[in-house]
């Protein structure tokens, strides 16, 4: 089959590789009908996620048709159309049973490696480094899905792929980010980053009862989408003192919750942001936490900072004193996708939201390498790329 393989920093290639096979009883093999490039794939592309190996098949947002199931999978059969969570979870450990699916104890074959880095291991992920399990990803014609009896969600025939694909990651991720804001009536939510996750976070914040959402970015078309589709007030951070602007927009109180939908590769204009860039480029630091700093600084007293953006290592000069003084609450982590699949599918079915609004580019899998370049440089007004195998 053809698959998109990571071959080094800024290098992905379409290769002919063997088809996947059932390895464990609870596996299924899915024929991918649609897949997407995620903003977090760019962290792999840029080489900031450790333990990638040449030849790793990437991609964790995908859906398709079941072509084979292991003997432990009774709820799926050949021909079923499913969307697959990017987090791999067993469904039976303490964490899965407590609805914390992305923290599953039993799905990472390289758990010892993650323990050495993080103390304990989170769940395995598709196509997201050996630290997260080394599972082959879904930017391919076929993919092996472990624990297929608890992960994949069957989707109704009436809904096109483009409307359900994003249940695999970015819709639940944006939704969980909003849920983590603990929104109350009258709340103002500030969202840094108007990429796909930011766009879903904006819509989700309104679904969960926010009074106002303020979206922060610098890319005109992303701000436009946030304004037009998301009904957010927008703030271009270029030439703006973001913290002061947010204070002014909220009657001096500050936003009740702040969402960092940017993560480890933040851009910014301050001296701190420039120093971050230099340190990361020279490998003196792992993450550029410019947005996180701003979110902490801007958040109102007793508010929540919600972090769907990915961080990988050690963060410099995070104003923890401000976080402490203001009694902030932090929520973060990989999305517990399984938790949101059904409720969010129902919203798509009812027409509350059409998740395909973020798609700007439709390419073939073979054009994947080009897609990574376009997405990385935000060329051609790119917001979200889907790939058809």
């Amino acid at each position: 089959m053809r698959a998109l393989c990571w071959e080094g920093v800024h290098k992905v290639r379409v290769e002919n590789v063997p088809d996947p096979a059932i390895i464990n009883p609870r596996d299924a093999i899915i024929k991918v009908t649609l897949t997407a490039i995620c903003g977090s794939d760019l962290h792999l592309y840029d080489g900031y996620i450790p333990t990638m190996e040449r030849g790793d098949i990437v991609g964790h947002e995908f859906m398709g048709e079941v072509v084979e199931v292991g003997r432990g999978v009774e709820n799926l059969k050949k021909g079923d159309r499913v969307v697959v969570p990017f987090t791999i979870a067993c469904g039976r450990c303490f964490f899965c049973q407590n609805n914390l699916w992305s923290l599953c104890d039993n799905s990472n074959p390289n758990a010892a490696m993650a323990e050495a880095m993080y103390g304990y291991s989170a769940s395995g992920l598709f196509g997201y480094s050996h630290l997260y399990g080394g599972y082959a990803g879904g930017q391919a014609e076929y993919v092996r899905v472990p624990f297929a009896d608890v992960g994949p969600l069957k989707v109704p025939a009436g809904l096109p792929d483009e409307q359900v694909l994003f249940l695999s990651d970015i819709f639940p991720t944006g939704y969980m980010a909003a849920e983590n804001c603990n929104i109350h009536p009258g709340d103002v939510v500030a969202v840094w980053g108007c990429g796909p996750v930011g766009q879903f976070a904006i819509k989700s914040a309104y679904m969960l009862g926010a009074e106002r959402v303020i979206a922060i970015d610098r890319i005109p078309e992303r701000l436009r989408l946030a304004e037009k589709q998301g009904k957010a007030e927008v703030l271009n951070y270029e030439g703006t003192d973001v913290v002061q602007a947010l204070k002014d927009m909220t009657g001096g109180r500050g936003p009740d919750s702040c969402i960092d939908a940017v993560g480890m590769e933040a851009h910014g204009e301050s001296i701190g942001a420039i120093v971050d860039m230099a340190k990361q480029k020279t490998r003196l630091s792992t993450d550029r936490p410019h947005v996180l700093r701003q979110a902490i600084q801007a958040c109102r007293k007793g508010g929540s900072v919600s972090i769907p953006g990915v961080y990988g290592g050690f963060l410099d000069k995070v104003p923890f004193g401000a976080a402490f003084a203001k009694g902030l609450t932090f929520h973060m982590g990989q999305t517990h996708v399984h938790r949101y699949l059904r409720p969010l599918l129902e919203r798509v079915e009812r027409g509350v939201i059409d998740p395909s609004f973020v798609i700007t580019h439709r390419l073939n899998l073979d054009e994947g390498p080009e897609g990574y370049e376009i997405f990385k440089h935000k060329e051609d007004a790119c917001i979200k790329i889907v790939l058809k195998p």
């Binding site: 590789v17 096979a21 039976r92 450990c93 104890d105 039993n106 010892a112 490696m113 630290l131 290592g313």
Partner: protein, 261 residues
């Protein structure tokens, strides 16, 4: 900070194990029981009498007395340490196949979302163990308390030993030791304790082993000696995965650009 590679993380894990083992070897107790009691009692008398005298001689006696009390209670003599003498090991009884402090000891625990009964019964059927213990080739149960264990060694070789159960409490504990002419002397126990608040069962393994000297020992050390702690940890992790998820997560055999067609 550079991103660590897979290799660097694996090396760090190994170094951690080596450090832990050398720490275990630096055991501080080097006095036998009888000597410890004598030290403590003499020290106590000197200390008490010295305090009662309330003069310089008394103060000296009290000082010497307290040193002896410390020596007795901790079982550690700095003089013996300097002379490399250890009287603590000669008097040990031969209760297990490995005398105390004579082998390498590993203690590891894991919490599993199953009842003690279920876990105990799975483990007690020793023939199940090779299903999650990577280096075990087979366990053959001979009778209620005796079994034959065969483990994989490098270059297609194997090591074997007979084991007997020396203590057993249903749903709580199994303890065993190797008997006879074992390729590797070992003794161990596994404990099943309910965890609080519906968190399942804590499974704790205590394992002591002593590779033989000579060529065979080197071979055995290769499989058991290099990272035994990592092995026990991974075996327990696989036990948990098998019991909870019903399978051990794996990626061997999946496609990648490294095996392109």
């Amino acid at each position: 900070m550079p991103s660590p590679t897979t290799e660097q993380i694996r090396n760090a894990l190994q170094q951690e194990d080596v450090a832990r083992q050398s720490h275990q070897k630096r055991d501080r107790i080097n006095l036998g029981q009888i000597e410890r009691w004598l030290s403590g009692l003499t020290g106590g008398v000197l200390l008490g009498y010295g305090i009662l005298r309330r003069d310089w001689i008394g103060a000296t006696m009290a000082a010497v007395g307290s040193a002896l009390v410390v020596r007795g209670t901790t079982g550690h003599s700095f003089l013996y340490q300097g002379l490399n003498i250890n009287t603590s090991q000669q008097e040990r009884q031969n209760a297990t196949s490995i005398q105390h402090n004579q082998g390498n000891k590993i203690v590891r625990a894991v919490t599993i979302q199953k009842s003690p009964e279920e876990l105990y019964h799975f483990w007690r059927n020793f023939e199940n163990l090779p299903r999650f213990m990577q280096h075990l080739q087979s366990v053959t149960v001979k009778d209620l308390t005796h079994s034959r264990w065969v483990a994989k060694a490098p270059a297609g070789k194997e090591v074997a030993w007979d084991a007997e159960i020396i203590n057993e409490k249903e749903n709580q504990l199994i303890a065993w030791r190797s008997v006879g002419d074992a390729d590797i002397d070992n003794a161990g126990s596994v404990h099943f304790t309910p965890a609080p608040g519906g968190r399942g069962t804590v499974v704790k393994v205590v394992l002591e082993y002593k590779p033989p000297a000579g060529k065979a020992g080197q071979l055995v050390a290769k499989i058991f000696g290099e990272e035994p702690d990592t092995q026990v940890r991974e075996d327990l992790r696989h036990f948990k995965q098998m019991m909870e998820a019903g399978e051990i997560p794996a990626t061997e055999g999946q496609p990648s650009g490294r095996n392109k067609q």
